[in-house]
Symmetry: D2
Subunit: 297 residues, 4 copies
């Protein structure tokens, strides 16, 4: 039996897909309507987390935030207090790495497995069983939850040991979310400068601006340890200065531009000016005492 | 005859490619070695910009910055003072939009055409004749310079009237350059969190984090006028808060994150919290009194 | 009897000063040495928070963070569970406003008073009984704790009802702490520009740069509702642009400058450019839907 | 005879005060009304800058920006081309240090003295002859212009050799202008948190928040080389985190806070966490390879 606690906008379609694919579920949620919907798909309703835990070999949690997850998993009357040794908790909520680490440690103490598997993509993907999962788990635990994950999504990444899923999601969502403000500034400036939107996008789609430095350029430059300049940090800084002048003249607030320009200024002050602009990651790692990222060959 | 002034790291291979493809060039540069290299390809050397201008129907400039371009094009003894009415200046340098506008106006007064065609991609692309050009020109002028551009590059975008090339390059380079700091922060955090670089990149390459919101998600969301939430600004802000907590705990300085988080906070304060996160561009345009970007249908 | 829980770097001298001024204390801390020090001043040692609470009319807490305060005040075996109705808890720790509000509500439910009175100034001031306190309390509760506060400090501000002390401290420390980075950027730039430190400070000490806009200029300008320009936001923005150019030329990273310049750009985009530069606060309040600050006359 | 070029909002009252105090002036401005006003005070009107230069031992310029100053001082038909060797130009405009340095060098070549003396304080101070001047000049040149400066203002700082006035003004205005946004964020947050404005200001006026770390605390801490902690950077960072949480919960955009918090995070990553919070200036100087500021004893 698979336990499933948390039937919100994401949890409900995920649990539903499991039911449809033949898994037997015992579910719980604060919202009776959501529970009834799952009951109509042959899931069994449990009165609380304790009851779910007592009946399940694997218990999935999909809850709104770190505090609720802590309460449901590790609180009195929660999962860990009621699950059998040898069972496994898979938390799919978006929580802090610290929360994941604490719960995994608490589970380990009780002989219970723990997997963090937060969800990428949108609710509409969850509806269609096309979610992406970033999974932190031992090899054995990953093998154990894989069929379940395949029942809910179409892309599954095993990111490393417990805690890696949550951490990878942070890095991933940082890029995806911050891109929105970056794009907002670029298009805001473009509009104010009177450029044609269609033509501008056509150009952006054809360059590394959108195709992604990280995917196309970096693996053969800084991530391979090559920071000889294709385009120097000094020249990149000069470009940002031109953009900054244009933006201020046009009264387009571009806070990301401003922050990025200071970062390039810092890199120049620290001797990276003549290196390739992908070496911005070396500049940051050098600054903060972090090991530089290099691909294994 | 085609004039070419400015034979630096970019100008030299561009001019060389024109010679190899059969164009007859008259060239000038402060560096005699560069001039000799072009002479060996049958280009004629001129003593100064005035002499180049006097002998050419189209004069190309590829110079280091706005001040030098102004001097060479509009200064005493410069191109405009010596070129024939009906000739055309194509500036391919990276300059401010203001510079382009002033020079285009000065050229117009003298009955001389003007095109701005700054270069995308790197010097190594220029070597191979694979540059990308963003061109601002009237239709007639664009037709006139197109053969030359095809002699130097492989991708040519006509961005709109004079001044559009320079402006598009600003927007394009803003995205490309700032992406480096964004990626630097993401990978710096990833390293500090102990994630495996190869596995992390595999995930990032498979999501919109790198594929680009702008290309994949936005045309059917905000740019089509649809800001109903797939993923809300409120949730995106919550994610940035989790990243911020993790980054500060790990002592990874992430200035772009910090600036982006304030932008999301601003958007929320202005009532965009429940909209799709692509509506960050609407929030910015609303803030600054800019027309919202919408694709023609 | 006065209870005192938390005898760290701040709590110890505060409690000691109370003892010396004749208050009878019952104290508790995790560090036995600290407790012994207080015992040598005639304080009584209690085994735990419960015992302190049971013996005291007023219980003071001075603890390291929100989580510990919650545990000691509202946890099982904590103060609220063991104090008499009619007693009063005064939390002097630096905690989040949310924590203060929750604890005050929990105390109210049990008929126990609550005061938040975080500490300004440094540990060395606490040693000398010269602390500053920002107090959130009803008039009656304030009267009740005032003698204690006068036993520990020399400057006591009654900021408003419960919760006001914590909130005022946030605002106060925001200014004090952020000033350090602002000063760091100013002096870093000054050094790089080769200015004489003594002479530069002499100038800064003689202008509103350091004397403080907020104290000298603002009460008669924006806070009095007068935003007619003495010095416009447009001119202030122009000055920041000059500073930015100088800083980037000199490779001095100035992230506060960069963020401030975008804020001025935003204010200009929203029509505040011709107003007095003190109207930056109106621009921010307008942006975020906050009531503009105006002094009562 | 004293030349005065530039009779705008600042120049007019400054020149008028000189006339009233008995100096004989020859003036020029693009605005005839301003010239007539000075003529009514017995100043002589000159047709252009050349005529002013030819008749004056000292020529004062008070012009709107770097470009105009360059034109009037060093352009063809400008001051340097027409002034006698041994005369002196005093530029009081707000310009870039680079402009000052170039003009001073050009003046030197022609045997003409040069002083930069930009103005602090507001137009209303200029009206009353209460301006503040930051002067860059040799000792001899300073002695020569001092009577003039005393005729126009009440506070005169000799900041060092030529160029020091302009540079000191940049540093000074950076602090004064950025303080506005800092104060805006503090009061915006205060308003949103529901604090009483009068009481909050009373507290802020009583602490180092407004009195100024730079004047009160720093000379005996970091500027004296003492970075042993009164209040550590780690604790200051913790405070900024509390403020950040409160601001984001309250939806108050605080970009300076965000940038400052990253700067503290950087300082912590580089090992300054346990130092006094005034050591933020050491952290920045260390980062950028700038000599640390220390007062002479």
């Amino acid at each position: 039996m698979v336990g499933f606690i948390g039937l919100g906008r994401m949890g409900r379609p995920m649990a539903s897909n499991l039911c449809r694919k033949g898994f037997r579920l015992v579910v719980n949620d604060v919202n009776p309507a959501a529970v009834q919907e799952l009951e109509s798909l042959q899931a069994r309703a449990a009165a609380d987390a304790a009851e779910v835990a007592g009946q399940s070999g694997i218990i999935v949690t999909m809850l709104p935030n770190s505090a609720v997850v802590r309460e449901v998993v590790a609180g009195p009357g929660g999962i860990l207090a009621n699950a059998e040794p040898g069972s496994l908790v898979m938390d799919m909520s978006t929580v802090s790495p610290e929360t994941t680490d604490e719960l995994a440690a608490a589970a380990r103490e009780r002989g219970i497995g723990f997997v963090d598997a937060p969800v990428g993509r949108l609710a509409s993907h969850a509806d269609r069983g096309e979610s992406l999962f970033m999974v932190g788990a031992s090899e054995a635990d990953f093998a154990r939850v894989k069929p379940l994950l395949e029942g809910m999504g179409s892309t599954i990444y095993h990111c490393g040991p417990v805690g890696s899923g949550t951490r990878t999601k942070l890095v991933n969502n940082y890029l995806a979310v911050t891109s929105c403000q970056l794009n907002a500034e670029a298009l805001g400036l473009s509009q104010r400068l009177g450029l044609d939107l269609e033509r501008t996008l056509e150009v952006l789609y054809g360059t590394t601006a959108v195709n992604g430095q990280l995917k196309i350029a970096w693996p053969n430059k800084v991530l391979a340890g090559d920071i000889e300049p294709g385009f120097t940090i000094d020249l990149a800084h000069k470009d940002l200065t031109l953009v900054s002048e244009a933006a201020h003249a046009a009264r387009v607030p571009m806070p990301i531009l401003a922050a990025a320009r200071e970062a390039f200024s810092t890199a120049r002050a620290r001797g990276f000016g003549t290196k390739d602009f992908s070496a911005m990651v070396d500049a940051l790692c050098d600054l903060a005492g972090i090991e530089k990222p290099r691909l294994r060959r």
